[in-house]
Amino acid sequence: MWRFAFAMLLMAASLSIRADGTVVDKVYHPIVLPNEHRVEWRFMSRQTEEKNILAQRIGYGQSLSETVTVEFYLLGERDRDDNFGIEAYELESRWMITEQGRYWADWGMVFELEKRHGLDAWEASAGLLMEKEFGRNSLTLNWFSIYEWGNDIQDEWEGEFRMQYRFRWKPQVQPSLELFVGEDFVGIGPALMGIQRFEAQKQLKWELGFISELSGVTKDHTLRFVLEYEF
């Protein structure tokens, strides 16, 4: 197991060539529910020594089949003058490759296409998602490969790695630890996720995480919060 984890970390490190942006985001799970409709709100606040970034996104998604969903997001960011405006649009598709619990681990993929608002700057990414359960513990791993291009940015490849260890204590309270690796960034921190089921397929999911850059040389904290309503 440890050798496996180590190999994963090495792989993550070799992939870490992300040059800009914020690495901390959501850790994706390789699960798709059939007939799923959902609205999602993500909030991310990052505080470094020099700046304070606030980014939010809202999205609507629905499943196309039993194993594939698509989701559309609007991304907003607060700029230097404290104005909040639309920054980018994103199209995302998740694909559940294996049935949940059938194999040693559950696998999935996620594809994203993002365009910056008013700029010729594009970003396409593909992520491999894995989730392994050990009793009431879950380990979720995401490997992302990202390509950026356009006239307004430098064309480049980037890589990212995300990991979440979660203890499924109660549906509403699942404490976890999260790790994010990108270029010049290794962040780790406590997180909490939960789910409240209502009648039929209606459910509310939340995630809260507080990730700190590990080197600690300069201050770099990210608070992330996700609310998802599925129906």
Binding site: L192, F210, S212, G216, H221, L223
Partner: protein
């Protein structure tokens, strides 16, 4: 404001949550009741309220050293109670819940007072206390999340018979807290301070979150002075030595 509130929470409340996880693992393992948790919280919070209300006056005592003295005495008491728990646990497999209650209540009081000063101080002046409320709620949730994971780890240790490892964890935690109390005395010149022995900030900085976590768990300090180091090792070593000796005596008696 939001992130700052969360950071303050993680810093100040973490020792309470760490202790709660250890004590919960211990009390679940020994099938003791959980009254200490509830009562400890209630007593500790009441103590924190009283301390916060009086802190303005107390801090002026002894030429400004009053608060440090009180914090030092309380922390030493908490340390003693933790040692009593450990000793009892080693000798009789279970400890008196009153010790847990006392140790927990004191820890809640000391750390709670610090947070209350912040919350009270800023509640009135913040135009929108929303960030403060949200920060408090989120900070609580995150501390809770860490505590559950830590509890699992500690309980796992006990379940697998690694009692010694568990006892060492508790001792390291207790010694770390006690050492910090000694630093408070240097701050008001009741103890001499010496130049630090080394500086490991290049590896783990006190300022980093890992540094904070290690500090809460076992009193990690990037640049400790000789006095701190001495207190720390005595605080861990003496109880271990005592336990070892009493064990040998017992074994010796058994043989005769």
């Amino acid at each position: 404001m939001l992130i700052n509130s969360i950071i303050l929470f993680l810093r100040d409340a973490l020792p309470v949550f760490v202790l709660a996880s250890f004590l919960l693992a211990w009390s679940n393992h020994t099938k003791a009741n959980h009254h200490w948790l509830g009562w400890g919280t209630v007593l500790g919070l009441s103590g924190a309220l009283i301390l916060t209300a009086l802190v303005n006056v107390i801090s002026q005592w002894q030429e400004g050293a009053g608060l440090e003295l009180i914090l030092f005495c309380s922390q030493s008491l908490a340390y003693l109670f933790l040692i009593l728990i450990v000793v009892d646990f080693c000798r009789a497999q279970h400890s008196h819940p009153a010790f847990a209650l006392a140790a927990f209540a004191i820890t809640v009081m000391l750390n709670g007072a610090n947070l209350l000063v912040y919350l009270w101080g800023y509640w009135a002046f913040e135009e929108t206390p929303l960030a403060l409320i949200l920060g408090t709620v989120m900070g609580l949730a995150l501390c809770f999340s860490l505590a559950v994971l830590l509890y699992l780890a500690a309980y796992h240790l006990l379940l697998n018979g690694a009692r010694r490892a568990f006892i060492c964890l508790v001792l390291l935690y207790a010694a770390g807290q006690l050492t910090q109390a000694f630093t408070l005395l240097s701050q008001v010149d009741l103890l001499p301070s010496f130049p630090s022995l080394w500086d490991s900030s290049a590896w783990i900085s006190d300022e980093s979150e890992v540094g904070h976590l290690l500090n809460s768990l076992m009193g990690y300090e990037e640049a400790p002075g000789p006095l701190q180091l001495l207190v720390y090792f005595l605080a861990v070593g003496l109880p271990l030595l005592g336990l070892g000796l009493s064990r040998q005596l017992k074994l010796g008696k058994g043989r005769n």
